[in-house]
Symmetry: C2
Subunit: 182 residues, 2 copies
Amino acid sequence: MKMLRPWPTKVSRPLADYRVFTVRSDLKTSPRTGNEHDFFVIDCVNWVNVIALTPDDKMVMVEQYRHGSNTIELEIPGGMMDGGEGPLETGCRELREETGYVGENPLVIGQNYPNPAIMTNTCFTLCVRNCACTHATELDPGEDIATRLIPLAQIPELVANGTILHSLVIVALYQFNLWRKP
Amino acid sequence: MKMLRPWPTKVSRPLADYRVFTVRSDLKTSPRTGNEHDFFVIDCVNWVNVIALTPDDKMVMVEQYRHGSNTIELEIPGGMMDGGEGPLETGCRELREETGYVGENPLVIGQNYPNPAIMTNTCFTLCVRNCACTHATELDPGEDIATRLIPLAQIPELVANGTILHSLVIVALYQFNLWRKP
């Protein structure tokens, strides 16, 4: 069986800072051929997405306009891990800021690489139960978000029929399905 | 119910070309506040990921070193849509180049936005059946890939236990599960 090895980095060169991500160029040596190749890498902090459940089996979802795709997407709450925060803190903070909901027993139920080919970061999936709306939302000036309560039983159909399109949301929903039905 | 609207773009300014993606800055107007904000956007061509099945219920997977995460990942074959290609052509080409496998009846079974917050592109999920290894692999100099045949029944456990971590691969596997068990 063919075994693969990591490519050692010879030189890493920062190129640009775009606020929510930076770009660098890494010169690496192929362990297979010994030749050098350069690769562009997008550096990001880690992200958290939150499966937030109410006592009556609904999921707290958010609808928001997205500047990359130029579309309005049905998603779950989430965001970037600010300096020093762990995944539980980030997830509970983003849930509260984006929807006003607060819950109990936050638990990391999965993680993934958003794009290991060109991005460095990890995305965590958090599950929070017994959620209730107890706060006002606190949106950033660049955000415009509406809360939607969706019955749990409807979610797989919303993935299958293409209503939910954000890859990291689909990943969180699959990890949640596998976690609750082991 | 609060309804969201897209943000009109006032000025779009190209910033840098990094070969497999470009970065631009979009100045947009919030339809909620009327204020202007600028957003960095990563422009990419579309991607395709391939669920390739053998007649004995195995999935043709690939193991490869990834330069963003600096890890070796278990994934499915896939790649970028080259100029003029449709998703079926790209998927069948990448499957053949990366693994040497060729199959029948390619079908797009899903699509997603890899990251609608900051990326513009779409990723398609292709399913190809009756696959057999009939060609030699053709790897790019920057690639180093090993084929792995994984029994279909093992795949959900490999997602649940964190062996499979590439978000777009996890999305394709969930879309495949939902498509085959409607």
